[in-house]
């Protein structure tokens, strides 16, 4: 008689047990045996326009996953915007212990397909003006939301972002003009004034110095806002974060009389992007 074909009996029995468990009890996943740490993040793109009044409202994050549309973007979201696995809740295969939270005021994406017409309402090439940074940091509350409960955790300013480029906050993005009255000690040092509106000659780095980024406060990782009482999120639990503003404020606009199409001499971006990041210990069960 030819030998019986097929899998070894132990493996066959294991497969039958798994099938039984799934079909009769709805249970496929085993224990959450694997553990790791990483950042979970979700971004929102705000497009009010240069000089526009930003109206009061609430904006939900962690509600759109990669490939979906929403959260202010004109295109499907990518891994750049979020790595959250499920819309509005944690996936059934993960549990999170959130150790730290940060909110980053990101540089606007330079992908032009994300911006609606008219294009002159936005200039994503510029760093933000200090006035816009201030308004963003102090006019939004960060809420953690479950099914019906909404808990304000703080302002954006309370959650500085980790890392970022070094040493920007001291750079002036304004250029002085000649002929300002000299302070008593130094001679004819130009004082801060609005940006030079003259079209610059070739190879002028003046444009570069006038546009050093002013970013929100960045901190090293050890100093980010950490919870002594971590935020616990169970698998399948409903969870989102919202940014809410109840005050109206105005986006910075272009300097008056700036030459057209001379984007680098304009002040306002007309848009901004916010990221909420959760540094978490994750237990998970992976499927194969």
């Amino acid at each position: 008689m030819p030998p019986k074909q097929g899998l070894p009996s132990e493996i066959e029995r294991s497969i039958r047990e798994q099938e039984q468990k799934l079909l009769t009890e709805g249970m496929k996943l085993g224990r959450f045996r694997r553990i790791r740490q990483r950042e979970f993040y979700s971004r929102y793109l705000f497009l009010p326009g240069k000089g526009a009044i930003f109206r009061a409202g609430e904006f939900q994050l962690f509600t759109t996953i990669e490939g979906g549309t929403g959260q202010g973007y004109n295109q499907p979201l990518t891994e750049r915007e979020t790595n959250w696995p499920q819309t509005g809740k944690l996936s059934s295969q993960q549990n999170l212990v959130v150790k730290a939270l940060h909110v980053r005021i990101c540089r606007c994406p330079t992908d032009s397909t994300l911006y609606p017409a008219p294009p002159n309402n936005f200039n994503p090439d510029l760093p933000y003006s200090a006035a816009d940074i201030y308004n963003i940091a102090y006019n939004f509350t960060v809420n953690v939301k479950y099914i019906t409960e909404k808990i304000p955790y703080g302002l954006i300013a309370d959650f500085p972002a980790v890392g970022g480029a070094w040493g920007f906050n001291q750079a002036s993005r304004q250029q002085p003009i000649a002929g300002q009255p000299a302070p008593p000690i130094v001679q004819n040092v130009g004082l801060s004034q609005t940006l030079d509106l003259q079209a610059a000659p070739l190879l002028q780095s003046v444009q570069g110095t006038g546009n050093y980024p002013i970013l929100n406060s960045n901190v090293v990782a050890a100093f980010e806002r950490r919870f002594k009482v971590p935020l616990l999120i169970q698998n399948s639990e409903q969870f989102t974060v919202s940014l809410e503003t109840s005050n109206e404020w105005q986006m910075d606009t272009d300097v008056a009389n700036a030459p057209p199409n001379n984007g680098i001499l304009r002040n306002g971006t007309g848009a901004f992007e916010i990221e909420v990041g959760l540094w978490a210990t994750e237990s998970f069960v992976e499927q194969s």
């Binding site: 740490q37 130094v186 110095t209 546009n211 990782a221």
Partner: protein, 286 residues
Amino acid sequence: MPPNPSKDIARQVSDQEDEMLKRGRTPGDGKFGTLRQRHIWSTYHFVFAPGSAIQTSTVFLNNQIIVPGTYRVFRESVGKNGQGLPAGLMLGDTDTNFLGEGRMPDQQNFAVWEVGVTILPQRVDVVSLALNSRGAGALHPDDVSHILDEGVLRVKYITEEVSLGHFADFAQPGGPGFTVPSVLDYSAGAVLAGLGVAGGQNAGNMLGQPFSAQIARSTQNSGNMAASPGTRRKLDIPIFLPARTQFEFQLVFKRPVLLRSIQNGGTVGFSARVDLFVAESYRAVS
């Protein structure tokens, strides 16, 4: 009779040879008996085609773009071309010290406790390939800011890809200090503070004088936030990389990223170094 040392050694050699030839096992007790801690790093070189047109209406040239894609490190070892380097250039010791090429060597295990990404100036020999069109030295802070916000760091095993966070979340230790930036004109030997109008010993007001490229360079940083080792991102749960594990780290850009033209302070390229601070066990084979 006392044991014959020569016979014993001969037998040991024969046994080890047997183990290796017949079973593929490392001679000796096979344990990873030695421990140490050190940095393991690998660098990707983002090199762009030099631009040709001088733009005064925008700081960006169209071809100064990081093309969306996945850029892999820990794939090539010293002496190899790859990881973005132009043809003819090889990775050196400062580019990588990882021996494995896409997988852990047989003789090492890593427990990764810290991960960092740093944005660096490009190599001088890369600049030399297009001397008038590429910038050596520090990156423009504007470019660094964009790169840090746009790039995502992933670790990949065989089929599993895990996004760890954006580049900005993983600053590396050290790096040059950043002096208080100055917008003063150095071209006429002006002192650092207190400048007069054009002419004279303290030539060069902030405006009314063309800025020299020296000013842009002197006020630039060279990378992302220079976290001291004690304050960088540390993992409570290390990443385990046992011997022979297939893995790589990926620098992922999902959208095009515009960077500054060289005429406006850009460098037409940069390097990104991924650094792991690991506890390493290994066995030495002689």
